[in-house]
């Protein structure tokens, strides 16, 4: 395998973070803090979101769906963006860590996207009067979900693991074009989905008493992603090492 040689040569500048050994050391240092932060922020966030925050003046208690829906949607975009960064570093500089982390992140991102779509649907029925419409925001997020599924499928579609990695990474990079479309769909076109409340020019359109639980939930979701990413990346690295040693793939893919 030329993999060892590739990684050994990359010890300068930004590329040093792509060194698997360094990544493992950093991951082990971050992991307990991320886990503790996840427990605390999820606990306080859920309590505030479900019990302590006020009902909305228009939507009543239905607004509580927001505290799951909005962070899921943010993470759906964030996870894809980080996968794209990993894929680029793999395709351009051949950093194996890039594709390993992207592969590890894909099912998590797909789950976040599914959660955003499902909670959005449950929210849409009582508020808009429909489970689903083909407006630009909803459709572009559905495409993101299929991009995640396509990535996972392509990654596993080849006998030769490296071919799968290259094809899937390329798909991931091409799909990046969808991210600005999702973000700005509500500004560029008329949509049933309302425009952004938090990430907009000027102050957020959410009252402080609702912004805090939303922020905490977003932090919890981010930390959850970090925790799961570390665990999945480590097992993926062990798997790759087993394959390199010629041991049959024991733990599935």
């Amino acid at each position: 395998m030329s993999r060892a040689a590739t990684t050994a040569s990359e010890s300068r500048s930004l590329h040093r973070f792509a060194n698997p050994a360094r990544f493992l050391r950093a991951a082990d240092a971050v992991y307990p803090w991320a886990l503790a932060g996840l427990v605390v922020s999820l606990g306080i966030g859920l309590f505030l979101a479900l019990f302590a925050s006020p009902p909305d003046y228009q939507q009543g208690d239905t607004v509580r769906i927001m505290y799951v829906h909005v962070p899921s949607a943010w993470m759906a975009l964030f996870v894809y963006a980080s996968m794209a960064a990993g894929s680029a570093s793999y395709l351009i500089w051949r950093h194996p860590l890039g594709v390993i982390t992207a592969k590890a992140a894909a099912p998590v991102g797909a789950a976040f996207t599914f959660l955003a779509l499902a909670t959005g649907s449950l929210w849409g029925k009582p508020m808009w009067g429909t489970w689903w419409v083909w407006d630009a925001r909803l459709t572009s997020v559905l495409i993101l979900f299929f991009l995640y599924l396509g990535y996972i499928a392509l990654m596993n579609a080849f006998e030769n693991a490296e071919r799968g990695q290259k094809a899937a990474s390329l798909l991931c990079l091409v799909g990046v074009i969808n991210l600005p479309i999702i973000k700005f769909s509500v500004d560029w076109w008329n949509t049933l989905h309302q425009p952004a409340s938090v990430s907009r020019i000027g102050t957020p359109a959410i009252h402080e008493s609702m912004l805090w639980p939303l922020g905490l939930m977003a932090l919890a979701f981010t930390l959850y992603f970090i925790v799961v990413l570390i665990l999945r990346t480590k097992s993926e690295m062990l798997n790759a090492r087993l394959r390199a040693l010629g041991v049959a793939d024991l733990g599935g893919r």
Partner: protein, 152 residues
Amino acid sequence: MTRKRRRLHVALLGLLSLGTATALVLTAFEDNLVFFVSPTKIAEEGLEPDRYVRIGGLVEEGSVQQLEGNRVLFRVTDLAHAIPVTYDGILPDLFREGQGVVAQGSIGADGEIFVAREVLARHDENYMPAEVAEALQASGQWRPESGQPPPR
């Protein structure tokens, strides 16, 4: 090192051309990408009797009338033009005067009144507790029916 450079350039060029192509396609299909059209656009361009469209705007303040049965008559406005709409059915919870609405249907036989087959409520990006909304309205700082966002 030069091969890495070259791959970087290929990737950047690829993304750039992909972005341009996507932008051109999206611009070309703009009319099909909007979920609804505004009353102003319809006032400018007219509407053929059997064309099925969605119109969107605010439910005009004071325009909602209950007719016989479940039928309602209201006006959809974008604060420049307004279109009268009838609908026979159950309205969504968020349907109220001054709120966003999307009505799907076609212009009636008389060429004046829009007959909706489906009415969806649209909510804005503002979230706040009821007390804050009441306080803002009581102090006269915010009139939701104006279609303007609350002051910060």
